[in-house]
């Protein structure tokens, strides 16, 4: 059965891994350049100061390339699901060969288990290898951005692409078994996969673990390290929000800054009136605090494994549904 699966899919798999090889070579070459550039940037800024600005410039210099690389890695599992998963059963139905396959001495549930399992394994291997490469490649950029939870980066690093690949293949096979026609099944696979990739970071990932909450004193030090300082509203509705520096953590929400009595701080406007230069000192004197809800940086790998496990479980559920449906197929 494994032989038949290999014989039927070997050209696709060979082409896919050849493409993966080409991508790997490209990533290896640009990855080495990226590292040189990163080391030069760091050496330069350590000598002359202003590392924050220098790293931001380094990050944006490679921003476009990084977007493309991440997009490829996010698209690969979806494409595998549509081009390998969806036709797995439908092509046999459309050409009538299911009658040949299902009248050999192999029950059709086992036939599907082996085919789905082998193709899913190949898809997971391809996505996993690509993810490994991209995770290495983007290392300097991830250091520079210090924002690994951002959705495009999270979905294109570590172990989650393996989960996505298993899910996409099972999704493609089930769409095929239920819809029975290749092209609609491919379209449905891509649409559902895209929808899941949007819903996951927006609605599911933030609540996978109860977020942490911390209150930070807005003194001269924290204000100097802040990534942004915002004043929203005016007069008695004026609120101050400081983008505190938590490298690599995921800030879900932040409260407005409060004074020592716990009231929302309204003095930002008068501090601004004192002039840009004095603003930070003016705010720091008020003895403010700001509370934030966030997922700490050290949870990154827990999130990665957790999400990969969720997608593997979804893939398992879909595979079960596919086996149930293929037994009723006629």
């Amino acid at each position: 059965m494994i032989w038949l699966t290999w014989r039927q899919h070997r050209s696709q798999i060979v082409v896919a891994f050849a493409a993966l090889g080409a991508v790997a070579i490209t990533l290896a070459i640009t990855g080495v350049q990226l590292r040189h550039s990163y080391d030069d940037t760091l050496a330069g800024c350590r000598a002359h100061g202003g590392c924050g600005t220098a790293l931001a410039a380094f990050g944006s210099q490679y921003g476009l390339l990084e977007t493309y690389v991440s997009a490829v890695l996010i698209a690969v599992p979806g494409l595998i699901g549509a081009f390998w998963g969806a036709p797995l059963v439908t092509r046999e139905l459309e050409t009538g060969t299911y009658q040949l396959a299902w009248s050999q001495s192999v029950p059709r549930t086992r036939w599907l288990v082996v085919k789905l399992g082998s193709v899913a394994a190949a898809g997971m291997a391809a996505s996993g290898l690509l993810s490994l490469l991209v995770t290495w490649w983007a290392g300097p950029l991830d250091h520079a951005h210090a924002d690994r939870f951002t959705p495009e980066a999270f979905a294109a690093r570590g172990v989650v692409p393996i989960g996505y690949a298993a899910f996409a293949v099972a999704l493609g096979v089930v769409s095929g078994v239920l819809i029975r026609r290749t092209v609609p099944a491919m379209a449905v696979t891509l649409a559902v996969f895209a929808a899941v990739q949007i819903v996951m970071p927006l609605a599911v990932r933030p609540v996978l673990m109860p977020p942490a909450r911390s209150t930070v004193a807005l003194d001269a030090g924290t204000l100097a390290a802040a990534s942004s300082i915002e004043v929203r509203g005016s007069g008695s509705d004026s609120r101050l929000y400081v983008g505190l520096s938590h490298p690599d953590s995921w800030v879900l929400s932040k409260d407005p800054a409060v004074d020592p009595a716990g009231r929302a701080y309204q003095g930002a406007e008068s501090c601004l009136a004192a002039g840009q230069a004095q603003f930070t000192a003016c705010v720091a004197e008020a003895g403010l605090q700001q509370a934030e809800t966030y997922q700490p940086a050290d949870r990154y790998w827990r999130f990665q494994w957790f999400e990969a496990a969720i997608f593997l479980a979804l893939a398992g559920g879909l595979a079960g549904l596919g086996l149930w449906a293929v037994r009723r197929l006629e």
């Binding site: 060969t97 001495s105 029950p107």
Partner: protein
């Protein structure tokens, strides 16, 4: 001995269309069964149910005493050649044999290779480039090399030219003789089946119209020709299947267990084709059949 094919009240509905209704059959082991019927009579549905590719809507079917496709052992006992003999277009002939070898524990590789050699097929050729006849032969080689106890073939010769038809049926019969396997073979042409079958099932309008051993069917059906008369005047125990009247003459096709001895008319034998056409015509003229085809339209 276990019946090779046993159906009881077997029906299949596709939506509101009845592909097969209330089919009851019991075919003894080791027969070569001809399943005849017009296109759309339900032949493919019945055969697919026997292979477990289609599940009955109601009723039961047992093949060699077991439910079709119940497990690997049952699948191994039944060889199936589907209508239009589908093969994997991109796999070579040799790949198909390898497929058979890996998916069937009872596979006889020598037999498969011998057949391919006899047919002059190039093992390296892609199955998609084979002619219809070669494809049918490849499908038959695959089905027989798993050494089944029952071979089910759905219109295997429909797309073949007369010579290929004859070769195909000869190969089939060789296998049956060597391995004493049972066969169910469908066709809408009696001529294809006449030479090879010893058991006949006629399907028309999704129902079984006639089933039995060919010899027995031929022995119990006769044509009576004589001066015009009312069917009621025929001897008792005679079942009229078809009656034709001209001004002066009447022709009856009847089923009878006793010989007809009537000096007024001549009694003649029927060919298998006449017999089948009689039952198919009978099905076509019955009032229920007209309504059924109206509903199916």
């Amino acid at each position: 001995m276990t019946a090779m094919l046993e159906a009881s009240g077997l029906s299949k509905l596709y939506g509101r269309h009845e592909a097969l209704s209330d089919c009851t059959l019991s075919v003894p082991a080791g027969r070569v069964v001809g399943l005849v019927g017009a296109n759309g009579a339900g032949k493919t549905t019945l055969l697919k149910m026997a292979c477990g590719l289609v599940a009955p809507t109601s009723g039961t079917i047992k093949v060699l005493g077991e439910s079709p496709a119940a497990d690997a052992a049952q699948l191994a006992k039944v060889g199936y050649v589907a209508q239009d003999t589908p093969v994997y277009a991109r796999l070579s002939v040799a790949d198909h044999l390898r497929l058979g070898a890996r998916l069937n524990p009872s596979w006889d590789h020598g037999l498969a290779e011998r057949r391919i050699r006899q047919l002059g097929l190039n093992p390296a050729q892609r199955a998609g480039t084979l002619s219809g006849g070669q494809r049918a032969q490849l499908a038959l080689a695959l089905a027989v090399a798993k050494l089944p106890e029952l071979l089910i073939l759905d219109e295997p010769v429909a797309s073949l030219d007369p010579l290929a038809r004859r070769t195909f049926l000869r190969n089939l019969m060789e296998y049956v003789a060597e391995h004493s396997a049972g066969v169910v073979l469908s066709s809408h042409l009696v001529a294809d089946l006449e030479r090879v079958c010893d058991y006949l099932v006629v399907l028309a309008g999704s129902r079984v119209r006639l089933a039995g051993e060919v010899d027995e069917l031929l022995a119990t059906h006769v044509r009576i020709t004589g001066p015009r008369r009312d069917p009621g005047t025929l001897p008792t125990g005679v079942e009229v299947i078809q009656a034709d009247h001209t001004d002066r003459q009447s022709t009856f096709i009847v089923r009878t267990d006793t010989p007809i001895d009537d000096s007024n008319c001549s009694v003649g034998e029927l060919s298998l084709e006449d017999l089948v056409l009689t039952y198919m015509a009978q099905a076509a003229t019955e009032p229920g059949h007209g309504i059924l085809s109206e509903a199916a339209r």
